[in-house]
Amino acid sequence: MKERKIPEPKPLFVERIKKLLTEKEDLEEYWKIVKIEPVNSIRVNTLKITPKKLKEKLESYGWVLNFPWKDHPEIFVVLGKNPTGKENEILINESLSKLEPGELGRSLEHLLGYYYIQELSSMLPIIALDPKEKESHLDLCASPGSKTTQAGAKMKNTGNIIANEISMGRMRILASNLERCGITNTIITKKEGRDLCKNFENENIKFDKILVDAPCSGEGTLRSSPKTYLMWNLNSIKSLSKLQKQLLKNAFLNLKIGGEIVYSTCTHAPEENEEVVNFILNEFEDQIEIIDFKLPVKTRPGLTKWGEKIFKEKVKLSKRVYPQDNNTEGFFLAKFRRIK
């Protein structure tokens, strides 16, 4: 794994990461891995093909695959391909060469919707939420559709998914991905997420499962999107935190009693993570419980303290995913149940 040249992180960001990762070695591992491109991971679209058949097809191109999570055979990592000896080939080692830029998205199997290119950590929210056949599911911030298509496959195109997106441009990408993956149980809506939830509440439309994969500052995506270093600033973290609290609060009211909601972000900022979790636990004290869940990766418990802020002890049940722990991007997840 070769390090890339990346933009210089802002001093405040460096300082905050140091507060999160207090052990020297851990911090060094973090700064080392964020300079390295993420692995190529794909999720088999089991609505269209079995993992076994897709494996055969992709291996026939000389692609070298790895299966990182044994309980999730539909998830592949494409390590590279067998070297062909071509002139412009980039070798990773003697027996492995890099895929060409864009090669993963240009195969016949991708064009036919047999797989979805999705970063490993981005697959975790749906693993946590575990949507089931015939359930009603709301994906509040759905574009580009990686998690909606994952839910559609898990639900075997039964039940119903409402996939909401506010931006017209992003909605087109969502529609195109849903189509390519053959997701027939989904209705795409276009509305500001908080307003949509209020309207559902007024019309008494309730859901078994809700995903709030909230817009965030993206600190966890530095490996695939180094430009995040340039855009990062504390003000946007603060305003995102407000938006996230409102989104989660309004969405929670759309849950059926016994229904479950996953809140996730691709950032490490505690204001956008534990602070939001703490807020929702306080807001719906006797109606909500935070619940534990299993993930196929190493996670760390949610923080109970950040600077002057103290969070409830139960916030520990949320999960932090750091890039250096699993060779993924960074993520944060929390799961709740409505009990009243």
Binding site: K48, K53, R106, L108, L111, L112, G113, K134, S136, N157, T158, G159, N160, I161, I162, N164, M171, A175, S176, L178, E179, R180, G182, I183, T184, N185, T186, I187, I188, T189, K190, K191, L196, N199, F200, N202, E203, I205
Partner: protein, 160 residues
């Protein structure tokens, strides 16, 4: 027929027209799911459990961009199935199927017509081994291609 803002739920005679068409063209007997129409000819398939009342209720509170996925286009009372349409109905399609060899599959997926006498006329299902590749239109000497640009294989001969 029921119309929501930009989507029409096909029922009765209109649904029957589509079902009759795919039965005559491709031998499709069994068909589940709700058929919806957007614009004059684009047909969508929705298999979720929202019924007409649910959709109307939803429409009252938000803009519905679409329900389900594009199944195909109705052209002169005949259905031109999309790639997904052909894949979803894979096990029901009984006739007007043209099997492609390896080279033809590449040409087809690059978006080119295929010069081939099939003995068929009109819309045909394109198949390569187990993969369904959408619909073409057969005439005496060729098959016209409808693969959308976003779903085409890269044509390296054009790039050079």
């Amino acid at each position: 027929m029921t119309t929501i803002e930009n989507i029409k739920i096909l029922k009765g005679k209109e649904r029957k027209e589509i079902l009759d068409s795919i039965k005559t063209q491709f031998g499709i007997e069994k068909f589940n799911g709700t058929l919806l129409q957007r614009g004059k000819e684009r047909i969508f398939l929705y298999e979720g459990n929202f019924d007409e009342e649910d959709l109307k209720k939803l429409e009252k509170i938000t803009f519905i961009e679409r329900a389900g996925i594009y199944l195909g286009k109705l052209e002169d009372h005949k259905m031109r199935l999309s790639i997904e349409g052909s894949q979803i109905l894979k096990n029901e399609i009984k006739k007007n199927i043209v099997e492609l060899d390896d080279q033809e599959k590449e040409i087809w997926m690059m978006g080119h017509e295929i010069l081939k006498k099939t003995g068929l006329n009109g819309f045909i299902i394109m198949k390569y081994k187990e993969d369904l590749l959408g619909t073409g239109k057969a005439s005496e000497e060729k098959i016209t291609n409808f693969i959308p640009k976003s779903r085409r294989l890269r044509d390296r001969s054009i790039e050079k």
